[in-house]
Each structure stands twice: as C-alpha cells, then as structure tokens.
C-alpha cells in the first residue's frame, strides 16, 4: 500500500485544481435552525441571513463561478409534524432571488443562495435545514 502525505494538492502548473476522476465534492454545506437563527455545522459559509419567516440566505466565503450551480435542502429535525396538523415543508425552493413576492425576498447569486419553504396550509414556518451546493468555484 502506498501513502502520499501532503498538505496541498494542485495541478502540475502549481495553481490549477487537480482532477478527481469522475468525482467532485460539495462546495458549501450548512445546518441552520431558522427559529433560533443558529448555524450548526457548515463549510464555505461565511454567514446566514434570516430573510423572513420561512426564508433564509446562506452567504458563501468562496463564490461559485456562475449561477448555474445546483443546490439541495431538506428539513432537518426540530419541527414537530404531530402538532402541525398536516404536511410540513410542502414547498421547498432554492434559488429564489428571481421571485419578488414576500417572503421570497432572498438572493440568488454566485455568493449567496436563499431558500424558502411553506406549509401546505399556506403559511410559512421557520424550519431547521440541511442545505448543500454543487458546481464550480469562481476564478
């Protein structure tokens, strides 16, 4: 078995990224509790903005190269469906910057992504979320 011990890996020109053959990593990730505006585990997230009830924005330390990146988010603990009386997080929307109706007043840019969710009763709630982003980082 061979073991290469290094602190930094770059391409042969010394600056370009190395190729992870047919693979890539997540470029930002976050666990965020809207109700208490608390960020838990995160990576490449500089801050989180609580936009409105049911909507928050994750701001990245290192920006994406363009706005074609993919994002995914899922409710993560803290919300008691047994007392909510119906579905929860009926709508889950990332990339909400193009929408203007409240509370969709978030940001969709290379450096930030907003998320919004609503209950199927039409109301918006502060959930707790896991959010991830995939794509290329900026030049």
């Amino acid at each position: 078995m061979s073991d290469l011990r290094v602190n930094t890996i770059s391409a042969s020109d010394g600056t370009s990224p190395v190729t992870l053959t047919k693979q890539e990593g997540v470029k930002s990730r976050l666990v965020y509790a809207q109700a208490t505006t608390t960020s838990y585990g995160s990576f490449n997230i500089s801050s989180v903005t609580d936009v409105a009830t049911g909507s928050f924005t994750g701001n990245r330390t290192n920006a994406m190269s363009d706005t074609t990146y993919a994002t995914q988010f899922t409710p993560t603990m803290g919300y008691n469906v047994a007392t909510a009386g119906g579905d929860y997080s009926y709508g889950q929307r990332g990339h909400v910057g193009g929408l203007t109706a409240s509370p969709w007043l978030g940001t969709y840019s290379t450096s930030a992504t907003s998320y919004v969710s609503n209950h199927d009763n039409g109301s918006f709630y502060d959930y707790e979320w896991s959010a991830t982003t995939y794509g290329d980082l900026a030049t």
Binding site: P17, G41, F73, D136
Partner: protein
C-alpha cells in the same frame, strides 16, 4: 499531464486536512470537508423493489414504523451537526423527507417521509461533514 497513483492520501501537518485549489483557481478549500461521506439509494420502507439498492458508508438500515427508518453508518460522524439531505425516489410530489428526525446520532440518522400521513417510499439520502 502528470498523474500520481497512490492508494491513500494523508495530510502531512494534520492527517485529516488536505487543501485543494478551486476550479477557478481563486480559492483553496479542504478536500475532506467537501467530500460526500454517506449516500444511499434505499428501499427499506417498501416491499416492491424498483431498483438496485446501493450505498457508501452505511452498515445497515432499520424499518422503524410507517414512513420512519434509521440509516446506520459504517464510519460515524464526529458530531451530530452533519448536514443530511434526502428525497423520495418515486412516489407523490407532496412527499417530504425529514432528516435528523427524533433520535439522530453520530453513527445513525433517523428519516421520516410525510404527506398528510407518514408514508413508506424508496428514497435517496446523502450526508456531509466531519467523520470521527
């Protein structure tokens, strides 16, 4: 093009920390922190197989009750604040997966699927963060 073929990469200063350059070259980030640590295409909650179940870093699954299951990890996370995302693979558009539901642990996550009531569905799951 240069290529190094090895079986294991280890950080020199800190064994679990290797820095890589971003695609655009403007930033550097931790290789380990960006790697997907768990993924699973799962049919634990259903009796009819629709596809081939596959996974990385999962040791077992448990059908807890209707619409509720555990996924146990081969290698545990360092803390319970790891991000975990999922969605049903098939089923109703109203189905909604919750991760870290109830008894989340470093070595096991609890998932629920809900659409008016708890429902059994195939699902896809992935988790990120620092391993123990």
């Amino acid at each position: 093009m240069s290529e190094i073929k090895v079986d294991t990469l280890t950080g020199k200063t800190s064994a679990g920390d290797i820095t890589v350059t971003s695609e655009g070259g403007a930033a550097t980030q931790s290789l380990q922190q960006g790697l997907l640590k768990v993924w699973r295409l799962d049919e634990t909650l259903v009796t009819t197989s629709l596809f081939s179940v596959d996974s990385i870093n999962t040791s077992s699954t448990t059908d807890v009750s209707t619409g509720r299951m555990y996924i146990s990890f081969s290698n545990a996370f360092a803390a319970t604040n790891y991000p975990a995302v999922g969605n049903v693979s098939g089923g109703s558009v109203d189905d909604s997966i919750m991760t870290h539901a109830g008894s989340c642990q470093t070595g096991r996550d609890e998932l629920t699927n809900y659409d008016t009531n708890y429902k059994d569905q195939p699902l896809s799951y992935s988790a990120f963060g620092g391993l123990a």
